[in-house]
Symmetry: C2
């Protein structure tokens, strides 16, 4: 039975990540984390005629690779928890259609990797499910088409804008007693925070308050300090959001996370040599960085106790056009090995 301290949920069962895989596009495959990805697609159409199907194929590639690594059939899974940024989450639904497995669709915008993993962990803790997958994807071209402009338009991007990562991450969770597999020790589900940011080309600023709230609440609940963790990874705040998060936490909470904080949106690209403005974003950003780089570093013993805080901007182009500000949310996983 899980134990609650404040809003932080510590899992009693030994729920471990028994496999994980990341699949990315060409630009991500040329970035600093290229060695950690399981598949790099140089042709980001994945042989499809439309971007939505390409993204769904990318997600399937990550899902299938995670299964292959431990020689598991998809029918051995009790459920797939997945979501993405596309309208009606079609990347996930169509990837799930090809699997003979109950499908739990989730929407947390770019927080989806932490949200699906957290809910999958609680489902295992309940005893209702033994082994399941948590996964997410995003694609630069499907996101540009849906949220901004058709690629052919060649629109200029603002300096605060982030580049949606073409990437997918999938991990398999199970009650498991191997100390070699990273364990989900605790989860913290975030509240919606909205400080009134209306600029949809500045998502980092919109999401930073949610990340701050979730991290601060977790540290208070668990009576721990940032220095108790090898690293605190945020989802995709990018350069602007990263600066804001550190500043906010220092000013409002008197907590300095700068020595252990890294942002997946800044890790996946080299901003000096790759034209990505404020960094990477999209569900697949922290999804592929977690399922590729972070879990790989944990398995090597280079990281032993981390916080993974995926942030999401819960807006749509319609809500922005209707003058709404951008609500943010951040969900946290404490992963140990």
């Amino acid at each position: 039975m899980a134990i609650r301290q404040g809003r932080t949920i510590s899992l009693e069962k030994e729920i471990r990540i028994i496999s994980s895989a990341a699949a990315v596009g060409r630009l991500e495959g040329e970035g600093p984390l290229k060695e950690s990805f399981d598949r790099i697609f140089n042709d980001t159409t994945m042989g499809e005629k439309c971007w939505e199907k390409a993204e769904s194929n990318l997600l399937s590639a990550a899902m299938q690779r995670a299964l292959q690594k431990i020689k598991l059939e998809d029918s051995s899974l009790d459920a797939v928890f997945a979501g993405d940024l596309l309208n009606q989450c079609i990347s996930s639904s169509f990837a799930a259609r090809d699997m003979n497995v109950p499908f739990i669709g989730m929407f947390g915008a770019c927080s989806t990797m932490a949200l699906t993993t957290a809910m999958a962990s609680l489902a295992i803790e309940s005893g209702g499910i033994n082994t399941c997958m948590a996964a997410t994807s995003s694609h630069f071209c499907s996101a540009e088409k849906q949220f901004r402009f058709p690629l052919e338009y060649g629109g200029q991007r603002t300096p605060t804008a982030q580049r949606t990562v073409t990437g997918a991450g999938a991990l398999i969770l199970s009650e498991d007693f191997s100390p070699l597999n990273p364990r989900i020790k605790a989860v913290h589900l975030g509240k919606v925070e909205d400080l009134g940011i209306v600029d949809s080309t500045n998502m980092g600023a919109a999401m930073a308050p949610a990340a701050r709230r979730t991290i601060a609440d977790f540290l208070i609940d668990t009576n721990t300090l940032p220095s108790d963790y090898d690293a605190i990874f945020t989802g995709d705040l990018g350069l602007v959001g990263t600066r804001l998060l550190r500043e906010l936490m220092l000013k409002e909470d008197n907590i300095d996370i700068s020595s252990v904080h890294q942002d997946c949106g800044l890790m996946i690209f080299d901003r000096e040599t790759q034209d990505v403005h404020s960094g990477g974003s999209g569900c697949g950003c922290c999804g592929s960085v977690l399922c590729g780089h972070i879990l790989s570093e944990m398995r090597k013993g280079k990281l032993r106790n981390i916080l993974f805080v995926a942030t999401g901007a819960l807006m749509s182009p319609v809500s922005s056009r209707e003058g709404e500000s951008i609500p943010g949310v951040a969900h946290l996983l404490n992963i140990v090995i």
Copy 2:
């Protein structure tokens, strides 16, 4: 600890629906179930200038009413599980923004009421959460605008088309020992089924195979017959989907559900006097029928053991335009009192 029989999950804890509320629009408020709804909005703009905000207000109205009925503050909830049909689930996100509660966004199309309730139940069973809300909404005008044509176009609808219900349902779940409250006894999470239906004005046909699979699997897992239940409610198959489901189950599974089967899409409107073609649809259809009529009948003791099977069509206008067929999914709750 939950007990699994096949893919059916029986909950060990006494997880009960301690409150519920339904809010609907004018047409729904003139239908056969009008007495069971907590709020009926004659002005379906809810005083807003756009349909998306109207839908979000409708959802908030159901959520707040469910809280008020048991004099609960929203901050007493450990989480809100919600989702809807709008792109990026903005009806739910913006409703959740106004609550000081962790937000779990879900996407199951019209299966959302069962999906959110099932996942909320598993979260309570895990011990990670004590009291939470499951909710969903849909709105005829926001759905027409997004999925079909602007209302002003005045397009003709085909006889197989269903009318999206303007409605929202919200229920509050908690471990609770009052025999007067309906209890979630078991949940069954569905797989994606796709028999190749491509006509997005015939959702009932696309979803019927998923409903069949989920109901048949549940009956096999639990070794029960349709006659063991007071009623089997499907989400929103409408007239075409209802006929197909009964026919499919009779032919393929040799199971006759017709004597106990009712479809929320046929219950919420009077097809003789209301111009709704094949019946109602949308997340808010079975959401408002469950949280209004069905739970009310259970509290009166008129129904004591039911199956609630919400069905979803996991498509988007983009996937349809790109030639994809319509994947269906159905999630099941066994509710008893």
